[in-house]
């Protein structure tokens, strides 16, 4: 798992590296092949990461086809071709083969780079840096509304970093080494920028695709031979397309992923060279989103997600004729991905590298009994650690519970004085979230505190305050059978008698359970109490509970009384008085 590897060793230059050299046509060609092979190997993983802007799950494939189209163009090129020529051919091949949002942005990045390498036989690190800066600019310019936290950010931050580390001693090798290292880091940061990524627990897919390509560039630059993993069998995708995903009654939710190459025609557009893309862009923006549209020479490339592809095509055909058209129903695309996704056999490199951070706050509560569990869950507990008076959970039980929730802040309600320590220790050991241990010494306090907690507040301190304030007003009393003969406060208690206590103080003891409850309650309700919650345990009897409830309502007409099914062991009744 990559998350466990120190990143500096992950990108160390192999020991048998070739002598540093200038970037020339032959080398760029080899790097492009390395990048394509590296991405092909990891394309499926990149597909899995794809959640933005729509979960159509084909980013890896699209970027792969994009760069492979560039590599295919290089195949026809003489090996001794100059750097500028190689870059131009690669770029044009990619522009024409670009598929998908990320593929298009990638092709624009490379096109910008090629522009920056124009008139270059070969290039040193500084020229490469300038060319890639131009690549970043062109990538940003190709998108109508650039979104940060995507491939754009990853490209920009990496290039900025590598440029900032340029010095007299920089070689093309050291430049790319910097570039890849920062690209990796930048990629890890994407979930902090884009909520949709954080919620899905992934890094940006386009960014990951770019990382694999540039990683392949870098390794090829250092002399490594990269072989692509076997291509998926032909027809693989077709076989898994689930056409039933869109039936007679389906609603069109995602629209169509619509892509085409339009050959501008002199018969329709007299001055092709100065054709204004504004003829196309605003109208297409009104028809859909995820729009990428640009013109290269006399060819216009468009990618758009729209519910009305026919309007897109009709409009664009006013300026030329189509070279290729691809229209895919994204509901089907999506379900195809869903089918391919399961079962996920191995966690991907990046899927594992980022924790799934889904929310700001999560709650872990300790309790015992099915009823209790559902009560705590109803009030917002995300995970329950089973435990109580006679069954104290371990630090590790808490750590395991923390793992199952994912949030910036975890609030733990131990709900027992004997469990506080284990919770505190777990809080100290846990590093993936800030853990706040609530000092709830019994289940009554924990229940009241959790129900009063307002997790819509932004400030953790305010939440903790609201919890502490609610908890301060609670007294909890327990009714339990005595497990042995004892002498307490001069009263003899026999095994099987009932005792009622608050904290460590025994308040009542009696052979009769209902009577014990009455005595305890009458002690607890003395003086201005307004609310009583009764948790009926596993051994409580409903007739007796109803009897008590009736008595209470008569005796305390202003008291709000709630009987709930706690299902806890040991205590037939637990009373929380506020």
């Amino acid at each position: 798992m990559l998350s466990n590897i120190d990143e500096t060793t992950a990108f160390a230059i192999p020991p048998e590296k070739k002598e540093d050299r200038y970037l020339d046509g032959e080398l760029l060609s080899r790097m492009a092949r390395g990048g394509a092979a590296e991405l092909r190997t990891n394309a499926e993983e990149v597909n899995h990461l794809n959640v933005f802007p729509v979960p159509d799950g084909d980013t890896g494939d699209n970027m792969c086809m994009t760069i492979e189209s560039g590599v295919a163009a290089l195949d026809k090129l003489d090996e001794s071709a100059s750097l500028q020529e190689t870059a131009a051919v690669l770029s044009r091949g990619m522009l024409l083969g670009a598929r998908g949002n990320s593929g298009v942005i990638l092709s624009q990045f490379i096109a910008g780079m090629a522009k920056g390498l124009a008139n270059c036989e070969k290039a040193n690190a500084r020229i490469v840096g300038r060319a890639l800066t131009e690549g970043v600019q062109q990538a940003y310019a190709s998108v109508m509304t650039p979104t940060e936290g995507t491939i754009l950010t990853v490209a920009r931050e990496a290039v900025e970093y590598a440029n900032a580390h340029l010095s007299e001693d920089s070689s093309v090798n050291s430049y790319f080494s910097d570039l890849v290292a920062e690209m990796y880091r930048s990629l890890q940061r994407t979930p902090q920028i884009l909520d949709v990524l954080r919620e899905a627990g992934v890094v940006d897919s386009g960014g990951a695709g770019l990382f694999y390509i540039i990683d392949g560039f870098n390794r090829a630059l250092n002399g490594e031979e990269i072989e692509a993993a076997a291509l998926p069998q032909a027809g693989h995708a077709a076989a898994t397309v689930d056409l039933t995903a869109f039936g007679p009654d389906s609603e069109m939710t995602y629209g169509y992923c619509t892509e085409f190459l339009l050959q501008l025609q002199t018969a329709k557009v007299p001055d092709i060279e100065h054709f204004d893309m504004q003829e196309i862009i605003p109208y297409l923006e009104s028809l859909g989103d995820s729009l990428v549209a640009f013109k290269t020479d006399s060819i216009v490339k468009v990618h758009v997600h729209t519910k009305t592809p026919e309007k897109v095509l009709a409009h664009c055909r006013r300026f030329g004729e189509f070279l290729t058209v691809k229209i895919e129903n994204m509901s089907v695309q999506h379900s195809e991905q869903t089918v391919k996704n399961e079962p996920a056999e191995e966690p991907g490199r990046f899927a594992a590298a980022v924790p799934v951070v889904q929310k700001k706050y999560a709650v872990v509560a300790v309790c015992n009994g099915e009823g209790m569990e559902s009560l705590f869950r109803e009030f917002g507990a995300d995970a329950i650690v089973n435990g109580g008076q006679t069954q104290n959970p371990s630090t590790n039980d808490f750590l395991e519970a923390f793992e199952t929730v994912s949030a910036e802040h975890i609030f733990v309600f131990p709900n027992n004085g004997n469990i506080l320590m284990a919770a505190r220790q777990a809080a100290e050991l846990y590093e993936k979230a800030t853990v706040h241990v609530i000092e709830s010494r019994d289940v009554g306090a924990g229940y009241v505190a959790l129900s009063a907690a307002d997790f819509t507040l932004d400030s953790v301190e305010e939440i903790l305050d609201s919890i502490a304030a609610a908890m301060a007003g609670v007294t909890t009393g327990f009714v339990s059978p005595s497990i042995r003969d004892a002498e307490l406060n001069g009263v003899t208690i026999h095994t099987g008698d009932y005792i009622g206590f608050v904290g460590k103080e025994m308040i009542a003891s009696c052979k009769d359970r209902a009577e014990t409850a009455r005595q305890l309650l009458s002690h607890m309700l003395a003086g201005g109490r307004y609310m009583l919650t009764v948790f009926c345990g596993k051994d409580a009897d409903s007739e007796e509970a109803e009897l008590l409830q009736g008595e209470l309502e008569k005796k305390h007409p202003n008291l709000e009384v709630y009987f709930v099914d706690g299902g806890q062991e040991i205590y037939p009744y637990i009373f929380a008085v506020e």
């Binding site: 129900s451 307004y530 609310m531 709630y562 506020e578």
Partner: protein, 290 residues
């Protein structure tokens, strides 16, 4: 003989006989129970009977006053040569005010010499009721119709509405709050403390544990926001929970040292009650902000 006519609607929760004493005209919203085909004007059923029906589980739906009704009511006064001012139920809650405004606009063409003014005080229940009382007082003090309208328009956001309900299910059913908010209040023993915001919508739920804590929280809002804690006017409306209204007053007095009680305690009528249910307790006062 009043210098101009004041109109309101039954969203103001002031009893009709009191309004008559104040010489205020009132348009009646209507309601019906979902299980029968009878439409009641909302003064046709005693609130006791109405809330008893709701407690039995019957659901009530309300209908706004339409502009034609307003036109006829307004016209009567205009024909008698009176100018008129209409203060309506918050447009954030009902379309009644909108209907009154449309009627007013139509009539301005027919009666170019009459002043026909409408104000949406973005208020509801006895919050609107207090504005009506203020308008009546100003009219008696000899203020002009423009002065009264302008004063209410300028100060409407000072009218604080704080309320709690026994069960959020009614507000949820009437679509007055989002399901998420209703869920918060649906939890056992949890009571919402809500208010009417600057747009005249129901908003800002704080949850507290228990009815008692909800009443105390309302008193705390008064202590924090009221402009004149000791002598300021307090209106309270309550839906079949008069005892809680008294508790609220006692809480306010304990918190602020106020000697005076509430200036007006009134029933939550069937219009508001259809949506907020029995057990609704609402507090109104002029404050520094809503």
């Amino acid at each position: 003989m009043s210098s101009f006519a004041i109109f309101t609607d039954t969203g103001c929760d002031i009893a009709l006989d009191v309004l008559a004493k104040w010489d205020v005209h009132c348009a009646c919203l209507s309601f019906k129970f979902t299980d029968e085909d009878v439409v009641y004007l909302n003064n046709e059923m005693p609130t006791k009977e109405f809330y008893a029906a709701m407690r039995e589980g019957r659901q009530a739906k309300t209908s706004a006053v339409n502009s034609e009704t307003f036109r006829m009511m307004f016209e009567e006064e205009l024909k008698a040569g009176k100018d008129l001012l209409y203060l309506g139920l918050s447009s954030g809650i009902s379309s009644t005010y909108q209907a009154g405004r449309i009627a007013a606009e139509q009539l301005r063409a027919d009666y170019p010499d009459r002043k026909i003014l409408t104000v949406d005080p973005l208020s509801a229940s006895a919050g609107l009721g207090m504005w009506v009382a203020i308008a009546v007082e100003m009219r008696e003090a000899g203020k002009s119709i423009e002065e009264v309208a302008q004063y209410i328009e300028d100060n409407r956001l000072a009218m604080c509405h704080w309320f709690t309900v026994d069960d959020l299910v009614y507000l949820k059913r009437g679509g007055r709050i989002s399901p998420a908010v209703a869920f918060v209040g649906g939890m056992l023993g949890i009571k919402p403390v809500m208010h009417v915001d600057n747009d005249g919508h129901l908003a800002n739920v704080t949850k507290v544990r228990g009815r008692r804590a909800a009443i105390r929280a309302m008193a705390e809002r008064y202590a924090a926001l009221a402009k004149d804690k000791e002598n300021g006017t307090i209106f309270i409306s309550q839906a079949d929970c008069l005892g809680d209204a008294e508790t609220l007053v006692a809480d306010i007095q304990a918190l602020t040292g106020r000697k005076k009680g509430a200036d007006h305690i009134t029933d939550v009528g069937t219009v508001i009650g259809s949506h907020s249910g029995p057990g609704t307790l609402a507090l109104f006062f002029l404050g520094s902000e809503r």
